[in-house]
Symmetry: C2
Subunit: 324 residues, 2 copies
């Protein structure tokens, strides 16, 4: 595979430091977070969602947001984003020097209430203030919409309902929209349809897809999305992640598995897969459980294995049988 300029670019956004670590039962030491983000900064990913400026009481796992943002080495080619839940969080994020706010609300009223303790209207009002804070500070702002492909409590969500929130925040001038499959309910024909509709309605918008592998379809959904022209994906190193409010939910689509597949099917991610696998091994040492990553366990497709030590003897015995 030649990584030529003739290949279409796909942007890979690493979310493990935020969406992954926030669900880890054991606090990852700040120094380890910084070291991992520094290593990820050299892999070629386009964006790293580094932390969350939520209340330290709400998400103790990320209570070191300022220390992480101030401690990391900044690669000028990488956008360092952070989750911002409200104006107070936005002010903290600005002071800590983030490149982009990532705002989150759900298109499911039930999920938004359960997860964020607000109605969607209340979330939209709060996040609109955050958009203003970002604009006044001249930094980028992205809106992530949860449960676009289904809600674990409500079931299917009408795409028109999801798009109503896209329109509302597009009107406010956000720099990008992420459609999130928060609990792994998306399936490839649905993804293809939603991406096609989105690109027709908002051809100039920066669209990101965020998939989980809960029902095994994470990479299928990435494949279906790129077939429809999507070019930007959230993914988590090792497949870390999951939503504590969605029972049975499992990890984000795995960054190294995603890059491995995108390379094979002819896209240019700019990501050095070997460096990414080094990061994943480092992550594995930080958490107290196996990672869902498949390529971490099996190796790259063409990492060939040696023949057994008895191979020549096997071949000789086989040849002798034919000679009889």
């Amino acid at each position: 595979m030649n990584a030529g300029q003739d290949r279409k670019q796909i942007f890979v956004q690493e979310v493990a430091p935020r969406d992954g670590f926030q669900n880890e039962p054991v606090f990852i030491p700040t120094d380890a977070k910084i070291a991992l983000i520094n290593a990820l900064s050299d892999t070629g990913v386009a964006t790293i969602e580094a932390t969350s400026f939520t209340s330290p009481k709400a998400i103790p796992a990320l209570s070191d947001a300022e220390a992480v943002m101030r401690g990391i080495r900044r690669n000028p080619d990488v956008c360092y984003s952070a989750l911002v839940p409200n104006v107070r969080g936005g002010e903290r994020a600005l002071a800590a020097g983030v490149d982009e706010f990532n705002l989150v609300m759900s298109v499911s009223e039930t999920h938004n209430l359960t997860n964020l303790r607000m109605s969607r209207e209340q979330s939209a009002a709060t996040l609109s203030e955050c958009v203003k804070v970002a604009h006044e500070a001249h930094i980028k702002v992205n809106l992530s919409l949860s449960c676009v492909f289904g809600c674990p409590m409500e079931g299917d969500i009408d795409t028109r309902e999801a798009f109503r929130w896209v329109q509302r925040f597009t009107d406010l001038g956000v720099d990008g929209i992420t459609l999130c499959d928060t609990t792994g309910m998306a399936y490839p024909t649905q993804v293809a349809s939603v991406v096609e509709q989105f690109r027709t309605l908002w051809p100039e918008s920066r669209l990101t897809l965020h998939f989980h592998n809960t029902r095994g379809m994470g990479l299928v959904n990435v494949f279906a999305a790129v077939q429809m022209g999507a070019d930007r994906f959230d993914a988590a190193l090792g497949g870390l992640g999951g939503c504590p409010y969605a029972p049975g939910a499992t990890g984000n689509v795995c960054t190294e598995d995603t890059v491995h597949m995108l390379n094979l099917i002819g896209y240019h991610t700019g990501v050095q897969l070997d460096a990414l696998l080094d990061c994943s091994r480092r992550l594995r040492a930080l958490v107290d459980h196996e990672l869902p990553s498949q390529v971490l366990k099996a190796g790259k497709r063409l990492t060939v294995h040696p023949v057994p030590r008895s191979f020549e003897a096997i071949r000789a015995r086989a040849a002798a049988r034919t000679a009889l």
Copy 2:
């Protein structure tokens, strides 16, 4: 989703009783194998590869092949196939009443020698005799070709080389050909290309695809294959399986995850997913480890979860904030 006749039929072939159980370190009792196959017979799968008539010394896990075949209840809508490695195995399979022989060789010389202790030419000569045995007995015979999408020791395999073996056995009049991704090296654009070429060269042949999920692309490859018109897949309940001679190899593509996806994207499998999940829970109790199945753990996409018990209080508190 309506399971109407207007949907294209996809045939699901269950291989866990052979390709799965042969790799289990603990012997599954014969009665348990029979009970599982009987339960699988009522799920709507098209074929069950029930066992292997290899030497009991070579594969002790399946040393009860005769007892299994004679013990199961036969659903007339299901084809009960078995792996047949040689004429002696074919005679045993006939005596035990199998519906179809499944013959296996590798398109990689190194893999064939390592796995079967024969050159490919020696395998082809042996299997040609098995085809004759099947034809004389008027039962069906399928050829499964391993490593079509890559060999863990040789790397990429030229598709023309794989197709040379397809042509050779098609000339012998086999009833079907299975292209196997033995160690999970296939990727979706490769799969699409191979399926398209196969269907152009042998439009009348019954083609089966056999994928492993070693690098996370099992379902992506199924999706890419159905997009090119493939309509028959091997899959293993729970995602059981793996090849003992391929380091790092993991399970077959999971039957319930495959059926779950195929149903969602608009195909008719005829398989009752709930009954299949019951079988998978039964399988989980038989083996001493977790199964790779995602749908077994997470549930079907629209199996919605109840809201938290505190939901009405959350909603009331949110509403009170707006009223302030």
